[in-house]
């Protein structure tokens, strides 16, 4: 069964995950909430990602418990703190991964519009999503071009002359970025991106009962923790 949650619900998860960090919640509450965050993964196309995250989380928990009782040399505490640190930002990572991997661009844009965010931020966001993959492709082309010219060949060549390498990679990349910016502007303008008045969305988003229910369910452990404090 597939369940599709509203992007704003996912945003709420993200906020909750952040609040966990703010309020120093105890591990019990954190684990409960994390489990709740995991569940939507299993009703999406990203089941495998969910399982992966779950396994790592359990391992982190286990290792941490083992470490804390072992002793307290500086090194041990240091390692253990790093592990705790990673585990603590895990709820953020999970909710982030869920929000990122299960939200379509159309939905994302529609949600931003519904939340009243200005087009001045939405348009650049759309362009970032559009252009991001191009950067990777460009980089590959530039690497090829450099190899053919015999510039920075070899494993650590880029690090041997960092400033030079940065120049050789960034300049063609940015030159191309300028061209793309112009072409995209032309394409978008002729398709009416600058028309004043309301822009509609083909993708529709709607808060359903399930969204609300799940949001309340996720708030519960948190409220209980704050209440019991």
């Amino acid at each position: 069964m597939k369940i599709h949650l509203d992007p704003r619900t996912k945003l709420y998860f993200l906020l909750l995950a952040n609040l966990l960090l703010f309020f120093h919640v105890d591990t019990k509450t954190e684990v409960m909430l994390t489990i709740l965050f995991f569940i939507p993964f299993f009703f999406s196309e990203r089941r495998k990602t969910g399982i992966g995250f779950g396994v790592v989380y359990v391992i982190l928990l286990a290792v941490e418990y083992g470490m804390v009782f072992l002793g307290q040399s500086v090194l041990q505490n240091f390692v253990s703190m790093v592990l705790v640190g990673i585990r603590m930002i895990f709820p953020c990572l999970i909710t982030g991964a869920y929000a990122f991997s299960t939200t379509g661009i159309g939905e994302f844009v529609c949600a931003l519009r519904r939340m009243g965010i200005t087009e001045k931020v939405i348009v650049p966001c759309m362009v970032v999503i559009r252009f991001f993959p191009t950067v990777k492709e460009d980089y590959r082309q530039i690497k090829n071009a450099m190899a053919l010219r015999g510039i920075a060949v070899g494993n650590f060549a880029l690090l041997r002359h960092p400033a030079q390498s940065l120049e050789y990679i960034l300049i063609p990349l940015l030159m191309n970025a300028n061209n793309v910016a112009q072409d995209l502007s032309v394409a978008a303008l002729t398709k009416g991106i600058g028309i004043k008045g309301k822009h509609t969305s083909m993708v529709q988003i709607r808060m359903k009962a399930l969204d609300l229910g799940y949001m309340i369910l996720c708030s519960l452990p948190f409220v209980l923790f704050l209440g019991g404090k």
Partner: protein
């Protein structure tokens, strides 16, 4: 009429927004690379060096954008969009807040000299670079929680706290100093690239 035309020209228009988007995408790639890079430097504490590494390699992009879109709002939007993406991909919410605030401040500094004065733009870049401190901040929260956890288990937390106070203050100073140095280096490099390439090629005047 003429006056109206000038104010109209200072507003961000669609092509400006698209240019900002393109530069932000490249900047975001740089931030991603910086994350990996600083991870190699100090695994686990990569966020401490993330702003510095990123400041070191992104100067070009910042300078190019300041030259191509010398209007108030461009830098703020860049910082905000990066913050928004960081936040929605699971980074700490302070990334968004720090991103918005620092870029707004940077924008104001740039605006003061109409994005023309090299030194002021460099200063603006310095401030902008602090916007990536956001992801570093959870470290401080973590320390508190960790120590609270030790105390709850009846461990001698005072000693640990002493150790971590040093580490934390140390990391904070290191982070700030490294950002300052790297932002200056990166910014100067970016301005050099502007003269060497973009001005010579006639892409910016």
């Amino acid at each position: 009429m003429n006056k109206q035309l000038i104010t109209e020209d200072k507003k961000l228009k669609i092509p400006d927004l698209i240019s900002i988007g393109v530069y932000t995408a490249v900047y975001f790639v740089m931030v991603t690379i910086a994350t990996f890079g600083s991870n190699l430097l100090l695994p686990g504490f990569s966020y401490v060096f993330l702003p510095a590494v990123s400041a070191l390699i992104s100067g070009c992009i910042y300078m190019l954008m300041a030259a191509k879109v010398p209007k108030f709002g461009a830098i703020t939007i860049m910082g905000t969009v990066v913050g928004l993406f960081l936040f929605s991909s699971g980074h700490f919410v302070l990334s968004l807040i720090a991103g918005v605030l620092c870029s707004l401040l940077a924008d104001l500094i740039g605006k003061a000299t109409a994005y023309k004065n090299k030194l002021w733009i460099l200063a603006s870049y310095l401030v902008f670079s602090f916007g990536l401190m956001g992801p570093v901040l959870p470290l401080w929260f973590m320390k508190d929680t960790y120590i609270a956890k030790l105390e709850a288990r009846g461990k001698d937390a005072a000693y640990i706290e002493g150790v971590f106070a040093n580490i934390n203050q140390g990391t904070f100073v290191i982070a700030v100093v490294s950002i300052l140095i790297c932002a200056v280096l990166g910014g100067v490099f970016g301005q050099k690239m502007m003269r060497k390439h973009f001005e010579k090629a006639g892409i910016v005047s």
